[in-house]
């Protein structure tokens, strides 16, 4: 897990509980309002109930540590069933919504977005490993939707995708994830985007 494992030639083993205690501490503190730059390995160690030494031994910089934290966040993404466009979109949006509802995960991601400039490597990794695959999956579903005749072929699919995920992303960014029921909200968004808000001209 840690970037740089020394060659094992003997000596005491690292306590695996320390790793998770530290990562938990990071998530808790960020969820409590800390910024990524504001956090220090020292403060994290204190919160984790671990000696500074043990933290610095594992991660030289905050960057490396946050990478491992990100790894923890990156849960397996849901696979669309292929039953139908509406259902496939629901699977994807529900997956996103569930992450948004997870206070610790969404706080971490919000912080990462806000401080992307300070942690370019971290932000890049986040994009490649978390954002990109999900965006790709969404595109696949939309493409199949067009083939099936369920999605208008004359609209930029990227725009459709943006319309679908932005409400959830915006909530994550603003932290207003209180009254968010993943299942219900996903459905509502999909229905509205597919059918449109405009009144049918009689």
């Amino acid at each position: 897990m840690n970037a740089e494992l020394p060659v094992r030639r003997g000596g005491r083993r690292r306590d695996p509980a320390t790793d998770s205690a530290v990562i938990d501490a990071v998530l808790d503190m960020v969820a409590a309002g800390a910024t990524l730059t504001g956090l220090s390995l020292v403060a994290i160690a204190k919160q984790a109930g671990v000696s500074r030494n043990s933290v610095y031994r594992r991660w030289k910089t905050k960057d490396e540590l946050y990478l491992d934290v990100l790894e923890t966040i990156n849960r397996p993404r849901p696979a669309p069933t292929g039953a139908g466009t509406r259902e496939d979109l629901a699977v994807l949006l529900r997956g996103l919504a569930e992450r948004v509802v997870d206070q610790r995960a969404s706080s971490m991601l919000r912080a990462l977005n806000a401080e992307a400039a300070t942690f370019p490597r971290l932000h890049g990794r986040y994009f490649e490993e978390i954002v990109a695959p999900r965006r790709e999956a969404m595109n696949d579903v939309l493409r199949r939707g067009v083939e099936r005749g369920e999605i208008r072929p004359d609209v930029d699919p990227d725009l459709i995708a943006e319309l679908l995920v932005s409400p959830l992303l915006a909530r994550m960014a603003s932290g207003s994830t209180d009254r968010l029921d993943p299942e219900r909200t996903s459905r509502q968004i999909i229905d509205l985007v597919l059918e449109g808000a405009g009144a049918a001209p009689a």
Copy 2:
């Protein structure tokens, strides 16, 4: 502007250029990636080319200073013309998009959202003075749209509003405001939300 003005009995006058230099410094540093908690009055003074003393004389805390910075951000909001729903929405969205494109303003707001927990007073003010009025205006337009028969009456208007503004808010949050043409993007969003992405059943 400043919370506490001393009784003027003589002596040198405060240099008004100092005020704007400091506020500019804050906006520049936040746009450059600084967090609100991470900034210190000392660092700000250095960046503004002003003595620490001059900053502390004007603002006791970061909170007070940021309030004044926020004031600067809060440009007059555009008034819908009333010509038609589609046009009115375009006016509102264009106003939002223009703010999103402004690097310094959008960085400040992104930071404020990310650290809302740390600056509750500030965040409250931001909500009351910037978010609420615009949300109200949007609701007005949608209500009139329903009355005019241009907006479906069977859908929660809050959800429609959310769909309309979220793409721009999400871009602000993620900082990807590069290829954002306020006029064009606003139109695209409105069109898609009103007409829907689903193919009409033949």
Copy 3:
């Protein structure tokens, strides 16, 4: 007093009490058994009741600080009256003995001798400014003694000097300065060195 004084263009003045508090702290701690290498500016600051900052502002290294401490030790050396060899020697030895009796001074010098290798510059200064002049004075007195016919001309004067001062130096080195009466002990040493311990062959 301190090596590097900044150009004064304004700003708060350094508190002179801090200087002496720190120097006192050093003397006290060394007298209490601390070694020169063992002492840290941090510990000294704590003992002096002063912030670390204030210490580091004045002295960059322990070396510089100890130089100033040494300055304090270097009290004016007594001048022989010229009345007679025995009396002149008494003046010099009494001066040395008094310094040996001073716990703080003698502890400092003992420490300095023990760690000469670690503080070569410091030890050099000590030798030049404290040891050398006194050694010179002793030589002058002995030379005059030879001229007056009060000191044997056939013995190396350096050896005589060494015999005179070593008992006091040895006591300083071993720290056994308890029962040392400067006046009485000086006399005894001089008497014995001049007259010899050997029984006159009848």
Copy 4:
């Protein structure tokens, strides 16, 4: 040699080379300018090319280790021949001078004197086992000298002893043992102390 040897029921034997390597390391480092408090078992282990474990297994504290080091220093003391006072004194002083010339031994003793307060037990042992017997021997010789009519009976023998040994002790304390020829210097000191530096009144 080491305080606490485990009951032997099997297992690997301790490498005797380790003991001497460690003790050598201590003597070398002290001779190189280290203080007794400044040395740590860790640093000693590194210098000795031995694992920390092996050091701590043998000595719990620096105190215990230094005791063993002291043991090494304590070479057999020379026995006066009884041929004559002058010769007996020469034997004793030569023994002392030889120890003073030994860089490692004299550095160790100088350090021990400088830090006597920190290592009272160690210093006590040093006094009892090294200083006291030699001082006693010196007193014996002087007492016999008085009986033989070679030493003035009207002078405190302790003062005579002090005069004899102090030049060598002072050199040890100051580290100036370069140009010290044990044989020659001992003779010179004895001659001068016995015959005195004062010119015989014609």
